[in-house]
């Protein structure tokens, strides 16, 4: 195989549009180089290969970015969904607050609602910034990422009974998803950190959702397999009823079985108090995410 034919093969590493524009000239230039260098020397081919290895990936990446409209559309859709998520979060917090205002509002409960609203407002802000494509659009997105980390730490200190998974899902996932989709124009530590956060949060979602299934609580009861199966089927159709009790320091979820269930399961106590971690998450944060993954 001649040197020129081999170089033509190497040119396939470049994007097709670039090859069409400059391929002929590159071959011409390579031919000039061959005339003035020793083609049989290792150094010559090392330089040629090094040149292709350095320039082809960069040009491929530039061509991909120039042609890629899919990512732009995905980013816009993700921003709209995230904005809706923020609106739903605020609406849920309002509903939760109105429902809870009949009882005694404890400090931690108030803080949970406030933190949830704060996170939702940040989501809204970041989504609007990306949709408007402003010059400063990146700044709110960065602020949202930092704020989500602050919220995570604050929630850890204020609500030690909350599970890590629930906190990650509640505060981190939406923001991390948004930031990672808001692709940085250049490789940066910020972009890499966003992707790592997205992976961590994304991987924690299935585990957190699995924890949240009401049917899982029955495995702790002294029941036969048939009774467990029956309970799982029924539990899937019943939501746990959240009852706030002024006497307790934390909110607890209580499963109140139907009269039929009480009759069929003698071994079960009438009221089973569940302390699964996800039930203690502010429900307005979790309730709008659960349908997405279940």
């Amino acid at each position: 195989m001649s040197a020129e034919r081999f170089y033509r093969l190497l040119l396939r590493a470049y994007p097709p549009e670039f090859r069409a524009d400059y391929g002929g000239e590159m071959v011409l230039l390579f031919r000039d180089q061959c005339r003035e260098s020793d083609v049989r020397s290792l150094g010559f081919w090392a330089r040629v290969l090094c040149d292709v290895a350095r320039s082809a990936p960069t040009l491929r990446m530039e061509a991909w970015r120039a042609n890629n409209r899919t990512m732009e559309v995905t980013m816009k859709v993700a921003a709209i969904l995230t904005g809706l998520l923020g609106v739903f979060g605020i609406a849920n917090a309002a509903v939760e607050w109105v429902a809870g205002s009949k009882g005694v509002n404890e400090g931690t409960y108030v803080l949970a609602v406030v933190l949830g609203v704060f996170a939702s407002v940040l989501l809204l802000g970041a989504a609007v910034a990306i949709l408007l494509q402003t010059r400063w659009g990146r700044q709110p997105a960065r602020l949202a990422l930092v704020a989500s980390v602050v919220l995570f730490v604050a929630a850890r200190l204020l609500f030690p009974w909350m599970s890590y998974f629930s906190q990650l899902v509640g505060f981190g996932l939406p923001v991390a998803l948004l930031i990672a989709l808001y692709r940085p124009s250049k490789p940066s530590t910020f972009g890499a950190a966003s992707i790592v956060l997205l992976l961590v949060f994304g991987l924690s979602v299935p585990a957190a959702v699995a924890q949240a299934k009401p049917g899982d609580t029955v495995k702790d009861l002294p029941l036969t397999d048939a009774q467990r199966q029956s309970l799982r089927v029924r539990a899937a159709t019943q939501r746990p009823t959240t009852i706030r009790s002024p006497a307790t320091s934390a909110r607890t979820a209580m499963i109140v079985p139907s009269p039929e269930k009480r009759r069929s399961i003698k071994l079960m106590r009438p009221v089973k108090t569940s302390q699964i971690p996800s039930s203690s998450v502010p429900r307005f944060l979790f309730s709008f995410m659960e349908p997405l993954f279940l």
């Binding site: 400059y22 000239e25 230039l29 040629v48 320039s55």
Partner: protein, 124 residues
Amino acid sequence: MVTKRRAGRKPEAYLPLPPATFHILLALADGELHGYAIMKGVAARSEGGVRLGPGTLYGALKRLLDAGLVEQGGERTDPERGDERRRYYRLTPLGLSVARAEARRLDALVRAARRKKLIGERPA
């Protein structure tokens, strides 16, 4: 890396230029040149320190064309080589301004280095 052309950008907005890009602009400051002449000019000016391969050279030229710093000057045969038709490139007024701005920037750096006595008063 030189980014795509944006209306009304000042020459300073393109700085600092990558060394290979500045070398190409310097080579084209002499007039219209084809790819191989640019490559030889850069190698001679840098005393072999900067060697542009075909991929690096045409990748940089494509970016400079996209940014509006360089334009194509037509195709013709090289009187010295006299074989095939080659595409010629030349600087645009914006490209010349950017090259001047980069030269001023580097000159200021060299003067600062002289004041700090990092290099001598005259080039060795």
